[in-house]
Symmetry: C2
Subunit: 251 residues, 2 copies
DNA sequence: GTCTCCTGTTCCGCAGTACCGAATGTTGAT
DNA sequence: ATCAACATTCGGTACTGCGGAACAGGAGAC
């Protein structure tokens, strides 16, 4: 454990959350590190393109080298590589957008996004982070984690994003138990009002959960029509199973 | 300048270049830092999701948190946000793929990629890094840099990627002079055999070059047909100018 | 089975560097 | 002009980053 590196990581991640441009003082307050220390580290990170400063001085932002890192991560991810050939057909089959995500700290990060097959403009969500407890992808993953890791996640207070977000640890534990029994997760407007999601876990050859695959869309389209949810769940589960098999998982 | 942070940045970037999975010993050799130091830092970076280790131990790779960083960078980039509405029409107009890139160290990093408008499978290159001296985007940017920055880039030996890569500093200086006179850059199989590119610089409201916009495709399609190059150059230049104006540049 | 090699991981005393309060510099508002 | 807020610089020293040596574990050869 290197304290300086710890702090630099905190600074980088602070620049990735919320406002894209932050001053030294703002970062200092966000990560609770004195200003000169923040400044010195920003300067070091800047030398490697991980951070850059506005031309006229003042605010700092992430630099293009982080984009290289992100791209390299995707290039090296077997889950993402294999997900593409399953997610796109599922999007066509269901008529909804498909996301594949992995757990990163308390968030789910989208590693693949197959657009809903219509002509409306959609924003590519690869790299987007959603708190695990507010999305079906997150529930699907965390439900299948080893006990210790799950306990650690549940021991940290979680944030309410909408009036429907479940934040009580006991309620979350119960929800995860339900996910384990059923083999899939449902999210109903817990991250964004109006939106819902369905997801199933994806396993690798060591039988560990490595991510989840799911669909996201308007709640009234995904959850309300009679019989629709069941059909979507079936499609999502069988696709997640196929993807798991392709990753070497037995089930 | 914080040495520990410097080293951690080197380690992260080493994981982004070449093989996606590296052992402690390999990283140690790549960045010339002793193994225990590399190991300690990897462990610290792992705690923040920036790095992860294979389940059975051994090799390390970048973690999903870097994808968040990359995504946040794109979300905060005005160049990228505005490039989308110009690059896509240019791709349709020219029938070729359009890239918008920025300089990061000795490389150009692609921040936006509009696919060639055909039905063939294409790989999204956002986040890809190309050595500046081997691509038209890089030439277009570096030609317009302030003298000091350009000198610094030219003082470092550059790598030959193909038999056609220009690596001699004097020849590069001359090529950049040509770019400045003409207002655009041409690359002919310097990065990848068979591929070529045309690009023009993009400026912001401070009249500084902030990136470049260009098209990439097979050399025989871009450069060989009579009159085609001229028409493509015109389209690229006027698009880059429009994008510059939208970023607040006077010209 | 044993042995060897290679790699990741741990250890811990101390040298040197990370640290940060105080000071300085810059900018914008009044 | 003054003031406030913010970024940046400075430099002595406390404490932490460091890395050679040792250890642990796994894989392959015999």
């Amino acid at each position: 454990m290197t304290r300086a590196v710890e702090r630099a990581a905190q600074i980088l991640l602070s620049l990735a959350s919320g406002s894209s441009r932050l001053g030294v003082s703002e970062i200092s307050e966000l990560v609770d590190i004195p200003k000169p220390t923040v400044h010195t580290m920003l300067r070091t990170l800047e030398r490697h393109g991980l951070v850059e400063q506005e031309v006229e001085g003042g605010k700092y932002a992430l630099g293009p080298a982080v984009l290289q890192l992100g791209n390299a991560y995707l290039d090296g991810s077997e889950l993402r590589a294999r997900a593409a050939s399953w997610a796109d057909p599922l999007a066509r089959q269901t008529g909804e957008a498909v996301w594949v995500g992995v757990l990163s700290g308390p968030n789910v990060v989208v590693v693949h996004h197959a657009f809903r097959p219509d002509d409306l403009v959609q924003i590519l969500e690869v790299g987007a982070a959603v708190p695990w407890h507010t999305c079906a992808l997150g529930h699907a993953i965390v439900a299948c984690l080893d006990e210790e890791r799950r306990k650690r996640l549940l021991s940290v207070p979680v944030q309410r994003l909408t009036g429907r977000t479940v934040t009580d640890p006991d309620a979350l534990r119960q929800a995860l138990e339900t996910v384990r029994e059923r083999g899939y997760a449902v999210e109903d407007q817990e991250a964004t009002l109006g939106d819902a999601g369905l997801a199933a876990p994806v396993f690798d050859r060591t039988a560990r959960v490595v991510g989840a695959l799911g669909i996201v869309g308007p709640a009234d389209r995904l959850l309300a029509p009679p019989g629709r949810q069941g059909r979507l769940v079936d499609a999502v589960r069988s696709t997640a199973r196929a993807l798991s098999r392709e990753l070497g998982a037995g089930r």
